[in-house]
């Protein structure tokens, strides 16, 4: 499980890095009037610069975040089964589902309300913004799309766990094919592959939920159930997997750049077949390594434990941080070397500060409702006296595969 903590820490870090990079691109393309570029937006003069390649590379490589979260969730659901999928009773699933969905609903409401309150950061909102409420809710939903995806996986988990335990190979193969088709459907279009049957099938499948993600959840279930035989095999393949993930990641960057140029800068960096291969191999690679990262590993573990709370709050904080920079320090918008660390610190530090403050306020009793079951800065358990017969305990800082 410690490995999962480290993986969750990596996943939440990539979520924040990805959102910071997205705001970096928005700033360069659309907010040029604030830092002296007076051409009509979108300004694409930065395409092809080192900044462009860095941002596009970060955007592509951080696509592992949601798959890694789903992998970890599948792994945990296998734990919950206690070896038998019949133990996934409705009451157990309901408890896990509520713990996931209620904080999501709360933060959806908070973010919509905050958006409607006019501030210096958000001057165009206010009552007038009510007209765009539907679009607004859709935008907030897009910020938190991982949560409904995981919620659906949880609801499907009794069926998926049975399949993973009985027919692991078939489940992985089917879900991988499904995922690859959905992630890669734009690739087929670009390659001129058209088929009425294929188009009909792909149009029938909802774009995102839940089929796009099912492979990663299934992978977690299978790897958890068959840890004993699979873990040594995975460990033997750790180097090929790491090199493969790197290569496929580079391929997905090249593809994104190509699509961006073909679309004159308007490519939406949509999921693609190479990026599906990249995230699948990268998820396996991350699971195959023993993580011995010392203090940084401990930090990742803590981030992993607080990952759900951070996830729920970070999009809001990064948005406000970018807005503050836009209004108060616009020259920073074009200096990504300053903007990116600033947004990264805001995206990690802001949510942790909110959780810390909540845990020390009368709102503490709502901590689970706001951030899930365990996303709180830990309190000391009691007085600082060592356990009898033990020396002062030293925490293990090593993640174990």
């Amino acid at each position: 499980m410690r490995t999962l903590g480290t993986l969750r820490g990596i996943a939440i870090l990539t979520v924040v890095i990805s959102h910071a990079a997205a705001f970096g691109m928005i700033a360069l393309a659309w907010w040029g009037d604030r830092f002296g570029k007076f051409g009509p937006p979108p300004d694409l003069s930065w395409v092809g610069t080192p900044t462009y390649y860095t941002l596009i590379g970060v955007t592509q490589l951080t696509q592992i975040s949601v798959p890694v979260f789903l992998f970890a969730a599948g792994f945990y659901v296998a734990y919950v089964t206690r070896g038998n999928p019949k133990n996934l009773s409705w009451s157990v699933i309901r408890g896990q589902f509520q713990g996931l969905i209620l904080p999501f609903v709360v933060w959806m409401v908070i973010s919509v309300v905050l958006y409607l309150v006019p501030t210096v950061v958000n001057p165009t909102s206010g009552p007038a913004a009510l007209a765009g409420l539907v679009g607004l809710v859709q935008a907030r939903w897009a910020d938190y799309y991982f949560v409904p995806a995981l919620g659906i996986m949880l609801l499907l988990s009794p069926v998926l766990a049975r399949a993973a335990f009985r027919y692991p190979g078939r489940l992985l193969a089917l879900s991988a094919i499904l995922g690859a088709m959905i992630w890669g459907r734009d690739d087929l279009r670009y390659l001129g592959v058209t088929s009425p049957v294929l188009s009909g099938l792909l149009n029938f499948l909802p774009w995102s939920f839940p089929w796009r993600w099912i492979f990663f959840f299934a992978l977690g279930l299978v790897l958890a159930r068959y840890q004993e035989p699979l873990r040594p095999r995975l460990a033997r393949w750790k180097w090929p997997l790491a090199v493969g993930a790197l290569g496929l990641g580079l391929l997905s960057i090249v593809e994104a750049d190509l699509l961006n140029r073909l679309n004159h800068g308007y490519a939406n960096f949509t999921p693609s077949f190479p990026s599906f291969l990249y995230v699948a191999v990268a998820t396996l690679a991350l699971a195959s390594w023993e993580w011995r990262l010392g203090r940084f590993g401990h930090l990742l573990d803590r981030l992993g434990i607080q990952s759900y709370g951070i996830y729920l709050v970070q999009a809001l904080v990064i948005g406000y941080a970018a807005g503050i920079v836009y209004h108060l320090a616009p020259s920073v918008l074009q200096r990504q070397v300053l903007l990116q660390p600033l947004l990264l610190v805001a995206g990690l530090g802001g949510p942790m500060l909110v959780m810390w403050a909540t845990a020390r306020s009368p709102l503490r009793r709502y901590q689970r409702l706001l951030f899930g079951s365990s996303s709180s800065p830990r309190k000391r358990t009691s007085s600082p006296v060592a356990w009898p017969g033990r020396t002062s305990p030293t925490p293990s800082l090593k993640g174990k595969a």
Binding site: R2, S374, R378, S382
Partner: protein
């Protein structure tokens, strides 16, 4: 952060207090007996189990192996306390 527990309380009480303060946020004590399942009572989720693992390592000075994080060891206060005692006795 190093977590330490006071010398006057049992392993069960230390675990219970930790859960009250960090996982359940219960104001009036944890409505859970020592044998009640954390899973069945929605006390932990995928991050809660990690929190528990880190807690027992830091508070009791033991090393938890990944393959020991099983419901048999982690799914109730009494199971976790037994696991901690076994690990402490096995420690050199």
């Amino acid at each position: 952060m190093t977590i330490k527990v006071s010398s006057g309380i049992s392993v069960e009480d230390a675990i219970r207090r930790f859960i009250e303060e960090n996982l359940s946020f219960a104001d009036n004590g944890l409505p859970l007996s020592d044998d009640d399942s954390f899973i069945d009572n929605s006390i932990v989720d995928s991050t809660g189990i990690l929190e528990l693992e880190l807690f027992v390592e830091e508070a009791f000075g033991i090393q938890v192996r990944d393959d020991e994080v099983l419901p048999e060891n982690f799914d109730s206060i009494s199971r976790l306390a037994s696991y901690v005692r076994r690990k402490q006795q096995a420690a050199p």
